[in-house]
Symmetry: C2
Subunit: 472 residues, 2 copies
């Protein structure tokens, strides 16, 4: 269709409100509607954006931040208890998302903290644990992200939990994540019944030490390359957040010969192999710290508007941006929409929770949905929605990931490196795939679905960048 056609008939390109287009269409005038929205934020945002976009440090800063994010490696170098790896002392607990106290903590976070106190022997009953947490004596809470750690869902880490330890051989970073418990009634979804505590004890007593032996033995030749597995899993229908099936199988295969030769009793090795193989999400807790390493590598670049963390504590959704250091920009967490387990429904779901949005921050998860069309069976929607979700994320990211590729998009790299100014200007919010926890402490998982961050936090980050930028 060339412009010359306009000589014969009226053709209109309409931008913004749909009303005008509708009126023209009703009169049989062909209209091309361009999806445009006003920027996020209030009146001052135009000035903030102008100042941030004019910051001469921004272009090279974003390029440097994204370059680091894309080139970061992720190798599994050890498995150790959190007390030893992170120096967590008795009564010290980590949690997902931005900082929060017991008073504002949501049900699943409260449930997980209760369970962690029971696990650590700091309380004999749930009631005692709750009272101790409410008083706050002998108990301290801190975000995982403040300790180079990420935790899915409630993300609670206590000293006796064993942690994957990953290192970035390119930029030198280290990141940690606990071992995945499986689905359903598990601590990270806020459940704390006896079966939850028993499973965690077995993980500390048997699984952790076994994995330590195998991982250390494997690392003598070469550490498990977690980034390479993550790249492969995107070729195998996983997106790395809500679908980790192939990743888990590849990790199991990789560690298996060392596990078998660990010298542990055969029954324990068989049980560990069954536990890991029977939990399609086991790799999530390796993919998350891999993305954490990539995002941490991109931190603290002056003038950069690249988002380096998205995290939720079940009450607040927070982001951190490269150019604004450790400052959190927070707003109320939205409640995911998706599919529910058993008889659970929307009323049972807690608002968005977990550090697992580090996967989207690093360019996989909801940003790689097109690689995992089967995910719609888990989070709802149609296959076309999954492909469209990824396409849309290119609008708010700065790069296409050369390592993480989407076969069905002709091996296009996943959209990576969220730019807070692009989100603010386009109004397109990051797509996050996520599990849904029951809002009542102790419930466990109720479903899985999709969620967006609150829109307000991106213009807030832009305003903070504007304050740090040179005057216009």
């Amino acid at each position: 269709m060339s412009l010359l056609d306009g000589a014969q008939s009226l053709r209109v390109v309409a931008v913004g409100a749909q009303l005008f287009s509708d009126a023209l269409a009703a009169q049989a005038v062909p209209v091309t509607q361009v999806d445009w929205r006003p920027p996020l934020g209030d009146a001052g945002i135009e000035a903030d954006l102008a100042r941030v976009l004019a910051d001469p440090r921004r272009g090279p800063g974003n390029a440097a931040a994204v370059e680091k994010m894309l080139t970061a490696g992720a190798e599994l170098v050890d498995v150790r208890p959190a007390g030893e790896a992170l120096g967590l002392g008795r009564g010290e607990f980590l949690h997902a998302g931005p900082p929060i106290g017991w008073d504002r903590a949501a049900g699943p976070l409260r449930g997980a903290l209760i369970g962690a106190l029971l696990l650590e022997g700091l309380a004999g009953t749930a009631e005692e644990a709750e009272a101790a947490l409410a008083r706050g004596d002998g108990v301290s809470l801190d975000p995982c992200h403040h300790h180079r750690t990420v935790g899915p869902m409630a993300g609670v880490v206590s000293p006796s939990m064993w942690m994957f330890e990953l290192r970035d051989p390119v930029h030198g970073g280290t990141a940690w994540c606990s071992l995945n418990e499986g689905l359903g009634k598990v601590l990270r979804y806020g459940a704390y019944g006896p079966e939850v505590i028993e499973r965690l004890r077995w993980m500390s007593d048997v699984l952790g030490p076994l994995l330590q032996t195998a991982v250390r033995s494997h690392a003598k030749t070469s550490p498990v390359d977690v980034k390479a597995i993550a790249a492969q899993m995107l070729q195998m229908g996983d997106e790395g957040h809500n679908r980790n099936r192939a990743g888990t199988l590849m990790f199991l295969r990789e560690i298996l010969p060392d596990l078998i030769r660990s010298g542990a009793p055969t029954s324990e090795v068989a049980e560990a192999a069954r536990f890991v193989g029977g939990n399609d999400h086991f790799f999530l807790n390796l993919g998350m710290p891999a993305c954490k390493l990539a995002c941490d590598a991109a931190r603290d670049v002056p003038g950069s508007s690249v988002v380096v963390a998205m995290a939720r504590n079940g009450t607040d959704f927070g982001i951190q941006v490269s150019g604004t250091g450790d400052r959190w920009f927070t707003g109320p967490a939205n409640t995911p929409e998706g599919l529910y387990l058993g008889s659970f429904g929307p009323d049972d779901a807690n608002p968005d929770i977990g550090d697992s949005a580090i996967t989207e921050t690093g360019g996989i998860g909801g940003f790689a949905m097109a690689a995992a069309p089967a995910i719609v069976r888990f989070v709802g929607g149609e296959v076309a929605d999954a492909i469209e979700a990824t396409r849309l994320m290119y609008e708010i990211t700065l790069a296409e990931n050369p390592t993480y590729q989407v076969p069905v998009l002709g091996f296009r790299g996943t959209p990576t490196g969220i730019d807070a100014t692009l989100v603010t200007r386009t109004g397109i919010l990051p797509h996050i795939n996520t599990g849904m926890a029951g809002k009542v402490a102790g419930t466990g998982q109720v479903g899985a679905g999709l969620v967006n961050p609150p829109a307000s936090i991106f213009p807030e980050a832009v305003a903070a960048l504007a304050e740090l930028a040179p005057p216009l």
Copy 2:
């Protein structure tokens, strides 16, 4: 675009030869070209088709055959040496494809037979083996398919090779396939060097017995459900012929606890786990007999034009059709086109070989390419070609497989149940994904690619069906 538009301007739908369309298009007349070809075969084919299509047994016969093909199950019930499982005696060898003797055998089949004689101790050197095969004394050859067996590539089975034994719990069939050796210099690609024979000895001495223990132990609770794994792998980027990565990992996971508890020395278990996990094609030799069970269930239905076997011996491509019993319709095998390993090129490739086209006959492999967009990195082409390949196969098949689904096509079932009359009428030939063997005996694998059967064999099958049909 409604027909009324025709009042204003000429619009043409053209069928058949492109010449007319090109002439109109050159005069700026909009043309819709419909892809139509005359039927395959020579002058008599119209009469044959008419008689077959009018056969009152054909409709219900095809429905029954396809129903059996779709409902057949596939459970792994045992692992045993071929001598025991198939009753193969000393000097008896099976091979892929339709019947053939040493005189017409292609390089890779000759190479594999030489290796098998060395493995069985029937010859001390390759030269001795070749002489014995040429003389034919003490050596007999028979197609795998005549023994409810399928073999990838050369498909050579000798008495000491261990076989997967699968059973169809729905229709009662049994099928066998050897254990997969991996890629490169392996017997099935015609290599027979010392490392090939040594690997086969280890497979007979260590791997086979270990798998037997594990598979029998697993079957005490329930046999490994091979069909369920095949269904899952299509959700994980495998198409089940040239890509079996997820399938292999799922099989390994399933058998692992029994393997670990087998009581075998830890070093042997670790070596077996490494061998299976390190060979992305290990599951091919489970998927093939699973498809063989489905296709065998559809055999011998009077009047049915459903293809129940496609197989190649490296010289001839043969098909069998449900309504014509054990008769083979053969033509010269084409040479695949695709990607080559290392410095190999088209001149090094042998024509199409192997029973592995049983996967396409059963509705996976090349028919499920849309499930495996990453396959194009292995066989060549673009992602769009992979999706289009599957779409085209719906034109020549009778059903959509309710078990084998393609996520990116909105979970549409794979095209299953090739109808020889549809192939003949449309001229659309089945798409087969395949490995490429070096044409010189002893070479091994030279690449992987795509291939079609020779067109002539489908009208030949139709002619045979016509002879068996009632007169018009």
